[in-house]
Each structure stands twice: as structure tokens, then as C-alpha cells.
Symmetry: C5
Subunit: 89 residues, 5 copies
């Protein structure tokens, strides 16, 4: 999984049906030295993350399948945790 910080929200009126009702956040990955990467990842969120939160992202098919077992969400990244703490040597 990846670590990043939530830097914004994003909307799309014209979209695939499977995205209906999903909250989409813009995440900026954080490197180990604390620097921010210039990438931007859009992830679905349903645990209440917001701008300024540091979060854990799961990417790829695990993200899709865990988010909905009945239908197939056209997503490839989800927020799976809001980080409380880290201890790095």
C-alpha cells in the first residue's frame, strides 16, 4: 500500500455509472523522507478522510473487489486507513 496526504476533492458529472455516489479524493503520495511526490492519485473514500489527513491507499484489483462485492466499481485506488501514528527508525 502507499502513504499519502489528502490535498483535495474532485467531481465529475459525466461519468461511468459505477462511480455514482462515490466520494473521490485527490491524494499526493509522501516519500520516506517526508517530501511530497508530484504524482496525484484519485482514490475512492468511505471512511471519512478529508483534506489534510495522512492516509493509507490500496491500489489495483484488491481495491476494486473489497469496495463492492455485488457490482464492479470502475476504481483502482481506495483510502483504507487514516493514519494515527507511525514509528520509523
Amino acid at each position: 500500500m502507499r502513504i499519502g496526504t489528502v490535498v483535495g476533492n474532485i467531481w465529475a458529472t459525466r461519468k461511468e455509472e459505477g462511480l455514482q455516489g462515490l466520494k473521490l479524493l485527490i491524494i499526493q503520495p509522501i516519500k520516506l523522507d517526508g517530501q511530497l511526490s508530484d504524482e496525484q492519485i484519485v482514490a475512492a473514500d468511505r471512511i471519512g478522510a478529508g483534506v489534510g489527513d495522512n492516509v493509507i491507499l490500496t491500489m489495483g484489483s484488491a481495491a476494486v473487489r473489497s469496495f463492492s462485492t455485488t457490482s464492479i466499481c470502475p476504481i483502482d485506488a481506495i483510502v483504507v486507513g487514516i493514519i494515527d501514528g507511525k514509528d520509523e527508525s
Copy 2:
């Protein structure tokens, strides 16, 4: 998911059968600082995106499965949303 801008269309007469009838766009990813990456991603589109639109891309198996539940499309990227708005801190 990734954010990019549609920069063109692409055609292939000789192709895998599963690509028949699909509209393929060339997308240039956008970095967080607004700079364009030099990558080019080809994505299938069925929500009507066109050159100049900023879009959300889903990559990998989620793209395949959500695009067609009956047959297997040999694709690994789809346009899932045309961006109306973003609020970035």
C-alpha cells in the same frame, strides 16, 4: 485513479477482436503542479470525452471487468469521468 487531459484519438484497423467498436483516446497524465507528464496512455472511452477534456482514468483489471461483464475486452485503461471541478488546498 489518474488525472489526465485528452490530447488525441487513435485508430487501428488490424487489432484484437475484443477492441472492435471501442473508441480509443490518447491521454497525457497531469502532475499535481499542473505540469503535463511525457507519458501517453491509451484508454477506452464510452462517456463521450474529447480532445481538451480533463478526465479520470481507471487502470488495470478494474478497467477490464467494469467495461464488459460478458466478454473480456483486451484493455487496461478506461475513462471513468470527465472532470467538472477540483478543490485543492
Copy 3:
């Protein structure tokens, strides 16, 4: 999907059984500015691409499943189209 140019063929006598009979091409990805990347991707091809052709590549599980529905090919990239044309703004 990715865009690249076919730069060669590759053979392996000692190989996984699932590769038997597959034609394998060496593809060099093309960046948006037309520059060639220094990566090399090996892809299976069954639509007749050859050295010098510009092609569309599908990567990952979509490549595997669309290439064979009966057995599992140990491949992660296939040529899905030979590019006739592109219109880039």
C-alpha cells in the same frame, strides 16, 4: 494501454509450457513527444505485427484473460492493435 514500436523478436527454447507456440516481440514504448523510452517490453502477438510497426499494448491481467480463455498463458503484455493513425492536438 501503451504505445510502442516493434524493435525485434525474441526466442526461448527452455520456457514455461504456456508459452509454447506464442510469437514474442520486443517493444520500445514511445513517449508523447515521439522520443523512445529506454524500456523494453516483451509482448505476445497474434495479429501479425512486425519490426517497425507502431502498436498498442495491453498490460496485466486483461492481457492474460483475453489471450486465452481455456488455459492460463504466463504472459502480462499483448499487442492489441497495429496503429494506422493518430490525431494529436
Copy 4:
């Protein structure tokens, strides 16, 4: 798979249900020349790895499916081995 060194632990109280009870480690990938990459990967661990261990990581859907056959864990990286030895030419 990738090789990395465990540099820390990470916690998240607010998280996807599927993460409940999982031990999450922060891993820094090691390049071939022994240099550490500036990436940080979060991986689930159940074989007892700890800070300072060099480990083997499996990424993507293989990680998800091997970690739990009954439910779908929203993870995309797991520690699969604690390295005892390597012989590199």
C-alpha cells in the same frame, strides 16, 4: 517480488473493516547496489517481521488472494519472507 528493509510500524484507527487486526509495516525498497529507495511501501505481515529485517514483498492481487481465501482484504502488499541469505554475482 521486491526486496526491502522494515523501517517502521504504522497504525490507523479509522480504517476499512477488512484491515481490522492486520499488522502493517513500513518497508523501504533496497536497490541492487544496496542503496535505499526513497519510496515507502506499507505491507501486511503475519510471519513476524520487525524493524531492521530485510524482507521479500509480494504486490498486487497475489498478495490479496493468498492472505485470505474467505474474505477480501483491502491490501496490495504483503511480507512473504524474511531474508536469511543472498548470493549475488
Copy 5:
């Protein structure tokens, strides 16, 4: 798929059960100009590759499923061919 050269072997006594009995090699990817990348990829091998061999690697879910149809191996890379020859323009 990727092209690389086998540079070593790797062992882990404490490991996920699914890795039992698998031979793990360290592979260094080769760029198109023949330069070696500084990445190191660990791949499972059952076709007899050894240090110094140039090999073809399959990554991701294709690797997992083709390696074992009965159980789920926690791997994401396998050696699928030992290269005899290449013709590059």
C-alpha cells in the same frame, strides 16, 4: 513481460507457507541499450534458470495463476523463458 539477467539466489527460512519449495532468483532488468537497471526483482523459477542467464519475466496476476492452479502462491513474478536469441533492428 520484462527482460533481465539472473544475478543471484535468495533464501528465506521464515516465510509464507505458499513459498515452501519454491526456488527464488534475483533478476536485474536490462534496458534496451543493454544497460542494467538498478532495480532488483525476485522471481520464482521452475525451468532451471541460473546466475548469468538472460530471462523473460512475467509479472502480476498472470504469474500467480499460471504457476499453480490448485493453491494460491504468494508470488508476483516468475521466470517464463531462458532467452536463446533476439534480433533487434
